[in-house]
């Protein structure tokens, strides 16, 4: 028995470590599977569903599903891509995203995924929810209009900072990220140095006084599409 697992992604055979998730295994082989809630330093969450792939014909989230010998994974097909587009569009209409004047523009993973998947305008009607902004903290801003509930901040605070600054409250469409205080971030032990403030894929958690420092044209996703860093590492011949 070899200690690696062989599977195929869109017909291409790859080797993976037993116990690895499909997402990680694909990444190691230079195959990008779009994702939002997954983050390399955090335990998988499985909430955004952008990483959905078909495994032996059945939908699974690649960030949580472990590889298995002989697995047939469908990642870049039209039906998977359309599924992902619909999910991204849902996230756009669920919140209030005005990319053109958002500090995170050009750095935003949601925006970058929309570009990569060729979304020009969402097919669903905007929900225009009333969401709040918390600017109480001297160094950090929370703009819940842009929050996509990926839970990265919640996990980073726990797993990387050893704190518990954030948590989910409410249920269903009323679910939101709350802070570990009655209402204000300023009343928690959050600091600008927390890793939790680095991981937001969108512009919902920002450090104050750091926006717009990179000129348009030179921002990370101006230069190359999201996922390109993974694909450029593709092994020759794979």
């Amino acid at each position: 028995m070899s200690s690696t697992v062989t599977l195929t992604i869109d017909g291409v055979e790859i080797q993976a470590q037993p116990g690895q998730t499909i997402l990680k295994a694909a990444e190691a082989a230079g195959v990008y599977i779009p994702r939002l809630c997954a983050h390399p330093d955090l335990t998988p969450h499985g909430s955004c569903r952008v990483c959905t792939v078909f495994v032996n014909g059945r939908p699974q989230s690649a960030c949580t599903q472990p590889v298995a010998e002989g697995m047939v994974v469908e990642n870049a097909s039209e039906r998977v891509t359309d599924l992902r587009r619909q999910i991204i569009e849902m996230l756009f209409v669920e919140g209030n995203h005005f990319c053109m004047f958002c500090e995170k523009s050009g750095h935003c993973e949601l925006q970058a995924l929309a570009y990569r998947l060729g979304i020009t305008a969402p097919r669903f009607p905007y929900q225009f929810p009333a969401r709040d902004v918390d600017a109480s903290h001297p160094d950090i801003l929370i703009d819940r209009n842009r929050c996509i509930l990926c839970g990265r901040c919640v996990r980073a605070s726990r797993e990387l900072d050893g704190k518990n600054v954030f948590g989910f409250v409410g249920r269903g469409p009323h679910k939101r990220v709350a802070v570990n205080a009655e209402a204000r971030l300023a009343d928690t032990d959050a600091t600008a140095g927390d890793r939790a403030m680095d991981v937001c894929p969108v512009g919902a958690i920002l450090r104050k006084r750091s926006g717009y420092t990179v000129p348009v044209g030179q921002r990370p996703y101006d230069r190359r599409p999201i996922g390109a860093e993974i694909e450029s590492a593709r092994k020759p011949g794979a």
Binding site: S47, R49, V169, A181
Partner: protein, 605 residues
């Protein structure tokens, strides 16, 4: 008052061992005693059990029966299920509201009574119904609502509202409820008599492996909806390593139109507990947990009493059966109002004192379940089947029902039929036969399996109830000729929106969008292309959702689109001017017109 709160919470937490995994018990008690779990209460609880305040808030804000803002000492929860609405529930709701002088979601100024709506409380066969705190009141009329409101305002305690007492064990001194069983057909598996302890004795005379083998030979599949083979699940749980193992009984029964577990727990709790004990022996567990939905809290004292009696009779406790060293006990874990907690991994989250979010799979509960330990989660009825299989033998069981689906199924039938209630039928029965039995032959549609199941019409009535054809966890809702089926579909979508945990995007957002598209069609603003949009969005939500809730929530739309397509087609039309019919220029201008105080000169009408 403030210090009373601090002292009260200290006591409640201490009585729960200051154990944060018992958060559900803690917050339920705080809610009951103080009418809410206030901001200060959350701080105090967090400090007492050494957790973070936001963790407490995440739990309190999740469950419908808990709240951070004060509620009345009496809470009236009017069941807002579609069946109740069909039986005059709206009139009853209005009567409560008029009599109390408050709207839904409000509390009387004296802080006495709060009025709310709630999802199906498991009384669809005696709708319209409501819960007054823990007390179910059924077959309501607007007169009855006025009368109840009058008495409550005069200070009558909720349990004194019950005047007529239901049949069977509903009359037990510890139940004393007006709920009736409506048990109309008792079958040989669940509702036949069984000498208490007989099945357990037979099980303990065998090895655990032999018990599992019998359950497999009987080809028992789960009765909760998913239909997983029970013996196989137990094999996994038995084989998995863990410091301890758990046997969990899923009595969350939240699928609208399902109320058979209510009747089973009322009339044959011993059978359920015996099945759980046998499961404990089979997988090597010493702890059973009955997860009881908050709506059935009125059965709790009675069930505790049954457990106590079983302890006295040596059917629970240490060294059962003498021969092998096997100890097993059962406790009851109350829910707090969340349909999703019927999903087995959400249920386990809830038992761990967390929000009822489902967990990522793998690992499956049989490998790593409650607190990381191997756990088998089974439905109430499944445990009844287990006890009967051990008593009567797997061969006897396997010859009941149909080839692929041995045994019987307990159905709960509601809606437009003459004899709503509970029927234990052999698997393989035709839907038409069921309709005949219940007096619902005129049905234009039947919802099989609740909102998460399928809506079928007369061409499908010859199909059979079994795992391979029309599967159901028990819910059968009958809709007569006069009903607007799209309103039914809409009510089901509203239910899923309210009950989604909100963890994953497709379910949290997709269901809201799906309902929006549906309402557009219902209101006559839809175009033919919208049918395709519904189909594609529904398909996406099903495919991409994380748990069974989202994976089935589009079913009302998708199954009605398939089986009742003309209902949609007659309501949509091509828009002659080629403009988007969803766009209403007058509405779009409305707010600006209000602010400026003048009307648009261009788009005047």
């Amino acid at each position: 008052m403030g210090d009373d709160l601090a002292e009260g919470i200290r006591q409640i937490c201490a009585a729960c061992g200051n154990d944060r995994t018992r958060m559900m018990d803690i917050v339920r008690q705080v809610q009951a005693r103080y009418g809410c779990v206030s901001s200060r209460a959350m701080d105090l609880i967090a400090a007492a059990v050494s957790t973070h305040r936001v963790e407490v808030e995440s739990v309190v804000s999740f469950y419908a029966f808990l709240s951070t803002r004060p509620k009345g000492r009496v809470i009236i929860r009017v069941c807002d299920d579609i069946i109740d609405r069909m039986r005059g529930g709206e009139r009853v709701a209005k009567a409560f509201s008029d009599a109390l002088g408050i709207g839904f979601g409000q509390t009387t100024p004296d802080g006495l009574i709060t009025l709310e709506r709630t999802a199906c409380i498991g009384m669809s066969d005696q709708a319209p119904a409501a819960l007054i705190n823990d007390v179910p009141v059924t077959e309501l009329s607007s007169d009855a609502a006025w009368e109840i409101a009058r008495k409550l305002k005069a200070g009558t305690p909720p349990d004194k509202l019950v005047q007529r007492i239901g049949d069977g064990q509903n009359a037990h001194p510890l139940v004393q409820s007006m709920v009736v069983n409506n048990l109309r057909l008792a079958g040989p598996v669940v509702f036949a008599p069984l000498e208490t302890g007989a099945a357990l004795r037979k099980a303990l005379a065998m090895s655990p492996q032999e018990v599992i083998r019998d359950v497999k030979t009987a080809r028992l599949r789960g009765r909760g909806g998913a239909g997983f083979p029970t013996g196989m699940k137990w094999d996994f749980a038995r084989a998995a390593e863990g410091p301890r193992k758990y046997v969990v009984c899923n009595a969350d029964e939240g699928e609208p139109g399902t109320f058979k577990d209510r009747v089973i727990l009322t009339e044959c709790p011993d059978l359920v507990f015996e099945g759980m004990t046998i499961a404990g022996y089979a997988i090597g567990s010493d702890t059973g947990i009955l997860y009881l939905r908050a709506e059935y809290a009125y059965l709790r004292a009675y069930l505790e009493d049954v457990l106590e009696r079983r302890r006295k009779h040596g059917l629970l406790g240490r060294d059962l059966g003498g021969r092998e060293r096997f100890s097993f006990d059962i406790r009851i874990q109350m829910g707090a109002g969340a349909y999703v907690c019927g999903e087995e991994t959400s249920l386990l989250s809830s038992c761990e004192g967390l929000r009822g979010d489902p967990k990522n799979r793998p690992p499956f509960p049989a490998q790593k379940g409650l607190l990381g330990c191997p756990t088998t989660v089974n439905n109430v009825e499944t445990y009844c089947c287990v006890a009967r299989i051990l008593d009567q033998g797997p061969g006897w069981f396997a010859q009941l029902g149909s080839k692929g689906s041995p045994g019987t199924k307990v159905l709960s039938v509601s809606g437009d039929c003459r004899r709503p209630g509970v029927y234990e039928v052999p698997f393989g029965v035709k839907l038409a036969e069921v309709l005949q039995m219940v007096g619902g032959q005129e049905a234009q549609a039947v919802q099989v399996g609740g909102p998460s199941g399928q809506m079928v019409g007369p061409p499908e009535f010859q199909r059979t109830i079994c795992y391979d054809d029309l599967a159901t966890g028990g819910s059968i809702m009958v809709f007569g000729p006069g009903r607007d089926l799209l309103e039914v579909v809409d009510a089901f979508m509203e239910f899923f929106i309210d009950e989604s945990c909100g963890y994953c995007t497709p379910c949290r957002v997709g269901n809201v969008l799906l309902r929006g598209q549906l309402r557009k069609i219902i209101q006559g603003r839809g175009e033919p292309a919208d049918l395709e949009n519904l189909q594609s969005l529904g398909t996406a939500v099903k495919a991409a959702s994380r748990c069974g809730l989202g994976q089935t929530s589009p079913n009302p739309v998708l199954s009605s689109l398939k089986n009742f397509r003309s209902l949609y087609e007659t309501r949509v039309r091509e828009n002659p001017d080629g403009l988007q019919p969803t766009f209403d220029i007058r509405a779009a201008l409305g707010e600006a017109e209000r602010i400026t105080g003048r009307k648009s000169a261009v788009f005047a009408q």
